[in-house]
Symmetry: C2
Subunit: 339 residues, 2 copies
């Protein structure tokens, strides 16, 4: 197995988070995978809370929890030293530890020692696991949907989680395939593709979304953007490896400059669509645009609906805001595509 | 510094190589950088030889050599155990060790111990060095030429080494920028981009080809191919990070199937040109096709010259075979491009 796998259910750790923005990983897991969340653990100073019972590691373990998930990103991405004892306590109670922090659990000697002593795993979800493999480009059975973006941070993860949820609701066969640390912690499995050595991106995405039943959908979280000057290589490997049947273009309404990229305007939607279709055809000649997912949080309701209607007319595909309208129109349209 | 740097001159090790195909790294260094080669070292059973004096590590060190370069790729990419003593002897004589083998020198405890004891470096040129950085996309002064391919193994390294050599011959300011292990061993510096974590490809290529004098050319070795189902992510990061002013498309005449890629024909030259120009425009809107480098080793002289003439007419740029015709027409044409 080259995918990272977390055992459920979880004890979700909120640390000293002041709110659920600081604990956005915890919030995401509780929102998208409530069935995997057994309990929360909060430090006395925490103000953030989830709708879950509070438990200690031992209580959670006794109740069946398998993994202690760090549900927040402390400033700087390092683990506060005073939390080390908590993580050791969790391992001693029989829980694995999962973390998406920049600082690796495996680089903290006390945790490594406790892991060896207790037999519990340290799961750094930013670190790719298993043998790296090169892409083959060989076709696989089953269908695949990939989120692509006009920029980073435009809602690709949210869009694919929502599409997956809608598919399940409609009784379709579907699996969410996480490609980033937050997605992996939410789903409990995945491959952190931006941390994969560049020779192996496409190959690892092939492994992440293997052959499946003809009517099964892999809903693959996107990363970066093909038009991004720093990260396009990641996005292209993901596009080629996923052999997407359908792409959903994600965009934030009103964003004009690329995030943190001086001198780079957000490219036009038509350009982003054309570029992804052209490049994606290499490994799947039948790749199609399946819809546009628009983050309209900066717009009023009227503006949002007008913009959505305008884009639907312009591109001839369903246009949604996953939060405002839901993604049902995109999923409904998928049935019209041939396998 | 994020580039790997080898100190010259070298003692080039040919091991037990039967011929210069087995010792192609050694052959490449001696051909392209003869001024860096002080001597060769050959085992008694070696049949391959370079036009260099034979020396022991101690003799080479006494004569001024700084680095012992493994000039061959043993089958399987691992270091024969009987060579470990030779490498230790070389370090004891005051030489660093440079290797492009898959097996890392740094994973062989005896070598690590000897390195610590002697203070000589183990340089695994497949391992990226220094802090990894993300791309900025910011423009840099100076000019850059990048080799791109219709497939892997079509002569990108040879083409760029030849273009760099011709530039120097013509008195131009130019630096060869190596991006793969053989190129790094030949040039003595570079970044192994296919071993860089995918988030950092573009950024590391920016570092490899920094701002320079306005009339200075960085001649950047290409990797993979934008139309390759396994490695296109590497090629795109390289294209974006290099901000190429000029691309040279490399192709092997007559190759119809991509190397090792079942079901993938070699794409048409026009498609490869269009794709690279379109994607490259993101970080350099003035990117141009500067020529085509054709490996015609499978063709007769007549066939080769006819094919070259045909492609020149079709694409309106210089078409060369670096071996058969030399690359002068490409370099001569570069002067007509604006900075």
């Amino acid at each position: 197995m080259n995918t990272i796998e977390l055992k459920a259910p979880y004890l979700v750790f909120l640390g000293d988070a002041e709110d659920l923005i600081m604990a956005k990983v915890a919030k995401g897991i509780a929102h998208w995978r409530p069935e995997k969340c057994l309990a929360q653990m909060r430090l006395p100073e925490a103000k953030a809370k989830l709708d879950l019972p509070d438990m200690t590691p031992q209580q959670a373990s006794d109740a069946g929890a398998k993994t202690f998930v760090l549900g927040l990103a402390p400033i700087g991405g390092t683990l506060p030293t005073e939390w080390i004892a908590i993580l050791i306590e969790a391992m001693e109670a029989g829980l694995d530890i999962a973390s998406g922090l920049h600082q690796k659990l495996a680089d903290i000697p006390e945790l490594v020692e406790a892991s060896k002593r207790t037999g519990q795993k340290l799961l750094d979800v930013r670190v790719p696991k298993g043998d790296m493999v090169c892409g083959t480009g060989l076709p696989r059975s089953g269908k695949r949907l990939l989120a692509v973006g006009t920029d980073c941070c435009v809602g690709k993860m949210f869009t694919t989680l929502a599409i997956h949820q809608e598919m399940i609701k409609q009784g379709m066969k579907a699996t969410f395939r996480a490609t980033g640390q937050t997605g992996i912690l939410i789903e409990g499995s995945g491959v952190p593709v931006d941390a994969v050595v560049s020779d192996f991106i496409a190959g690892m995405v092939e492994q992440l979304s293997p052959s499946n039943e003809p009517d099964h959908w892999d809903v693959i979280e996107g990363q970066g953007a093909l038009g991004h000057p720093a990260y396009a290589g990641v996005s292209l490997g993901l596009l080629h490896g996923s052999q997407a049947d359908v792409i959903i273009v994600c965009h934030e309404a009103g964003r004009e400059q690329m995030d943190l990229m001086e001198g780079y305007p957000v490219p036009d939607l038509q350009y982003v669509i054309d570029m992804n279709i052209m490049m994606g055809k290499l490994t799947n000649p039948n790749i199609k645009l399946g819809g546009i997912s628009l983050n309209t949080s900066n717009l009023s309701e009227d503006e949002a609906l007008t913009t959505i209607a305008h884009l639907e007319k312009r591109f001839g595909v369903p246009v949604v805001d996953p939060v405002r309208t839901g993604v049902k129109p995109i999923v409904d349209r998928l049935e019209t595509y041939d396998a």
